[in-house]
Symmetry: C2
Subunit: 102 residues, 2 copies
DNA sequence: ACGCGATATGTCGCGTGGTGACATATGGAA
DNA sequence: TTCCATATGTCACCACGCGACATATCGCGT
């Protein structure tokens, strides 16, 4: 699981979104310091769909075609597991890296 | 910063090691569930040397050539910063992913 | 009426870097 | 003396992030 993919899942964990909305949400999450390029985003979305971690979400037939996505049950499970993994790794890293230098 | 690279730095943060030792240490860190392939390891070591995050460490002229490495000051700084980044991201991810499913 | 920036979705080529297979050599133990 | 752990490395393949480019609409200000 790469970081861009994690950020996409995290964005969809809050609520269903369409592509551009994910882009903006990730920017907010990273306080403007993080940006997903569209190449990264739409590539990731395609892979996530194929893996069954996200699915198309029928938004109320709005104006121009907005393809909204949401997490599947499997996607939620995967995300939970990944976050758990991160917690372990971060804890380990904190211990290991804390070797008396500023 | 990719995960394999992080694991290498974490391994060297504890003490200077040579390649094979890093491999074994990472396996211990991941409780046997994580393995670094030699391709990943030696590729990463070359890059880390070029970046100046690690350096060769003169071990007491042991038997067969063992190339020991240790973190440079810069490497330690980078690792600290990365761990800090992980802490933020993990915190964010924990909040976002905690949406009422098991 | 016009233009421009935000909204919105997508493609493509480049380069980085992880992966597994393969290669090779030595030390020590059964 | 055979075999496994120790030890270091290379190579081809592939996945994926990234930036540039392409395109279309909406709404607002002038």
């Amino acid at each position: 699981m790469t970081e861009p993919v994690l950020l996409v899942l995290l964005s969809l964990a809050e609520q269903p979104r369409h592509g551009y909305s994910i882009l903006k949400d990730v920017e907010r999450m990273g306080h403007g310091r993080v940006t997903l390029s569209t190449g990264t985003l739409y590539g990731a979305l395609q892979r996530l769909l194929k893996q069954g971690w996200i699915e198309r979400f029928k938004e109320d037939e709005a104006a121009r075609e907005r393809r909204a996505y949401r997490l599947t049950v499997q996607g939620k499970r995967v995300l939970q597991a990944e976050v758990e993994r991160m917690r372990h790794l971060t804890k380990l890293a904190s211990l290991r890296a804390a070797r008396k230098e500023a």
